[in-house]
Amino acid sequence: MTKIGLEIHCQLTNLESKLFCSCKANYRDFKINENICPICMGLPGTLPRLNQEAVKKATIIAMALNCTTPDKIAFFRKNYFYPDLPKNFQITQLNIYGDTSIGGTGSIMVGEKKINITRIQLEEDPGRLIYEGSSSKNLITLVDYNRAGTPLVEIVTEPDFEGPKQVRDFVNILSDLLENLGVSDPGLDGAMRIDANVSIEGGKKVEIKNIGSFHDLEKAIHFEITRQESLHSRDISIIQETRHWDDKRKITVSSRSKEEDLDYRYFLEGDIPWVRIDPKTKAELKLKMPESISTKKERYVSKFNITPQVATVLSSDKFYSDLFEKSHTESNAKEIANIITTDLMGLVDTREKREESKITGTHLKDLADSIQSGKISRISAKNALYEIVKTGKDLSKVILELDLGNVSDESTILKIIQEVISDEPQAVEQAKSNPQTINYLVGKVMQKTKGKADPKLTLDLLKKQIG
């Protein structure tokens, strides 16, 4: 049986400052080595200053993953030499002297499958290496420390996954969950990085590191299973090792790390006392936790009669569910859910488009109300939405500028109906015996009014005219 376990590193991107100093947590907009200070550069004499909010946000993650949360947390040093590590050790967590890591055992459901969490730890991200020249034979390594010290949670799972598809589903659920908690924006480049442990029946565990994207995660695991099965079928034993995902060749490659590199000499970080997380603080954090995705979904279905499919899509994406929460009323909720899931999602389907989009809750509310009151048609609403996303103008202004308002003036519609009746004598005849055909005629009226004729009024008038 194939067994896969994951180590997910997720940056707490929504924090203001780094884990142990006051530099910016979101380092992405800085020039090279300009988001650094003596502390995150590990200069002689500096000491870590633990970020209170990081401890709280990491605790919330542990709670959301149904993990135990300890009464006190401790930090340890993981010692190894690497140029992206200013102190040549990483401050991280372990459970050496009792359960002192920010999260203990827990679990979440992926469909019908329960995935067990081993541990969650709070730690610092290293800097970033840039290889000059080709990556294998580079002459020099350049280091940018802007990322060094960024708060990171590492979520370690049990080897409970049976295949790449399960892994992908889990990562999607986890990514939505972290975003919904308001602790991280997993869509940011490098905000979520995953190592996978893969083993097949009768083989040793192989760790794959350096998997750059969610997309490659599935590929890397798939490749690794195939590689191991191929070895197994040829009676070649699978050794325990660490392999790197080669992003360009899309294969895993053995890392020639020597045995001595694996002795991390973990010991207590004396510069950070053990931090008590008292029951009152835990209760407060629990109370402040945002509604979970599944509860949200259930509420959408039961309270607003939204279909389970639409509710699932809407609740799992924080961007859309936030818009929904800001715009809906009891009466227009279903309409808004439909606008979001059928029209808006198609318009803002990438991260960039979302960030550029100018839409607000008020826009959505106005749109839904206007549809329900017959002020504009659904077709016009879609056109208006396109304009609103682009410009952020008020709906009333968009309707005026693009002339999208419904024609509800009887005489105007009647005039057009007359035209249609004279254009389509055959259809008019059929309509007298077959009521289905009348919809065809309504469509023709709509065509001539570019979708603006009040559909209900048009139908009534047509029926009267045909008799």
Binding site: P38, P44, G45, L47, R77, N79, L139, R265
Partner: protein, 481 residues
């Protein structure tokens, strides 16, 4: 100009206009010029000191608010960062390191108008107890320049005892303030762990070390503590002392106080002169109304092994950052592979530092941690329990600071294990986090002996009162330099 006055006298004299800070500082610099060739306390001297002193004199004259130090010249062990000045740790590895920030103690002293007269010598990265392991040459004991001044804060002790400054800041990881204070016949203080911020002190063994003042009187130590102690946002391990005034009530005496004599520190290996000095000290404390009784701390036997295991482990990690990439000395990375480059670059560490780092790699390694490191941590825990238990019955503990007299330079440098034993009386305060002080007590055949007192956690004020009482019972000859 009398350079021998205490810090409190200096402040009074400048305040009253009897002397100027500028004159005093200038004379101090002359003194350094004339004696430091023989003593080698200083690694660098602050050329700006006189200019700074002049500014303070101006403030005094114009009646502006002046900080509590009134331009008092202080020397700083060269493992504490002063912004824009060299901080070498007496190591070739950091020979060119210029600190881009001030240590918290430096910030506090600057606010109180202290003048940093220079950076003083130490064993490289504070690893040693003789100052012989400085990469820039040993300091000499002013009582006899053939002898070691103790260490690792040897430069601090020498500069204070030979009037090259009024007070000094050192750091004490296993006795590094108290040991040289004892060897040079001055006061050396190791506060409760967390009483003084370590921000800006270059770590050797961060879980047990503290910055501490070296002064000529106990009152001066209390004066320094008033300035540099207290909670600091930059050091998560600092404690809130509620702005305690350590000077007030310092003359409360020790009548009725119970003092435990630590048996394990006056037994095997103690020099007869040191033992007899200790007995004298006990008699004097008893004559002041204290009740002295023998106590036993079983774990002391293992404390030195535990101490070196823990400090080597932490040092191995703390010194890992010195890979010469971000700062360091001239040595191009080109043409090297990462591991071979840093292994070569790190050859600039001295032999004692290298030995301790190797041990620091060995004892906590995956295969050995259970045998050495974990046991050492457990000895630390058990020793702390034992000491806590003793402090339920006693107010203070007493032992000689160092079991032997100062020895000759070079005498023990090749025998690291015999050097270990010298730490036996001092490491307990570090492993347990308790405050401890060395008070100069007697000169025996031309060599100083200090007496050590310990108190319970955050009982620093009580400890200073006892030390002051003991200090008042002795009169010491003047240093012969």
């Amino acid at each position: 100009m009398n350079l021998k006055i205490s810090a409190l006298e200096f402040v009074q004299e400048v305040k009253n206009g009897n002397i100027s800070a500028e004159d005093f500082v200038a004379k101090t610099l002359e003194r350094i010029q004339s004696v430091d060739d023989k003593l080698h306390a200083f690694l660098s001297v602050n050329e700006e000191a006189v200019v700074k002193a002049r500014e303070i004199d101006k403030k005094v004259k114009s009646g502006d608010k002046v900080g509590a130090c009134f331009g008092m010249p202080i020397s700083i062990k060269d493992n504490m960062c002063i912004k824009d000045s060299k901080t070498t740790c007496a190591s070739k590895m950091l020979e060119n390191f210029v600190a881009p920030y001030d240590a918290t103690v430096i910030t506090k002293l600057k606010e109180q108008d202290a003048i940093f007269i220079g950076k003083v010598n130490l064993d490289e990265f504070a690893m040693g107890l003789t100052t012989e392991f400085s990469a820039f040459g040993p300091s000499k004991n002013p009582w006899n320049t053939d002898y070691v001044p103790g260490g690792s804060s040897g430069g601090s002790a020498v500069s204070v005892s030979s009037f090259e400054c009024i007070t000094s800041l050192g750091s004490d990881t296993g006795g590094s303030v108290r040991n040289p204070a004892s060897f040079c016949s001055i006061v050396g203080y190791k506060p409760t762990y967390g009483l003084i911020s370590r921000y800006g002190l270059i770590s050797y063994s961060n879980s047990i070390e503290q910055i501490g003042p070296l002064t000529r009187t106990v009152k001066d130590t209390a004066f320094m503590l008033n300035i540099i102690s207290g909670l600091d946002v930059n050091d998560n391990t600092t404690r809130d002392n509620k702005n305690e005034d350590y000077l007030s009530e310092i003359d409360s005496g020790i009548d009725g106080k119970k003092i435990g004599i630590i048996q394990e520190m006056v037994g095997d290996g103690i020099d007869p002169a040191v033992l007899s000095a200790t007995k004298d000290a006990i008699a004097k404390l008893e004559s002041l109304g204290a009740v002295c009784e023998e106590v036993s701390l079983d774990m002391v036997k293992y404390s030195v092994a535990a101490y070196y295991t823990i400090t080597a482990t932490e040092a191995g990690s703390n010194l890992a950052r010195y890979d010469n990439l971000r700062y360091g000395y001239d040595f191009s990375v080109e043409g090297y592979e990462f591991n071979s480059y840093i292994s070569k670059a790190r050859k600039n560490f001295g032999p004692e530092v290298i030995r301790r780092m190797i041990i620091g790699g060995f004892v906590p390694s995956a295969g050995q941690a259970g045998k050495y490191f974990l046991k050492a941590m457990k000895v630390k825990s058990k020793l702390t329990k034992e000491v806590d238990e003793v402090f339920k019955k006693y107010d203070l503990l007493i032992a000689p600071t160092v079991p032997i007299l100062p020895f000759k330079i070079g005498e023990k440098i090749d025998d690291p294990v015999s050097l270990f034993q010298i730490d036996i009386n001092t490491v307990t305060a570090n492993l347990t986090g308790k405050p401890a002080i060395s008070v100069p007590f007697v000169i025996s055949n031309g060599l100083p002996i200090g007496i050590q007192l310990l108190a319970d956690t955050m009982q620093d004020k009580l400890l200073l009162q006892a030390a002051y009482a003991l200090e008042q019972t002795v009169t010491l000859p003047e240093v012969p330099i």
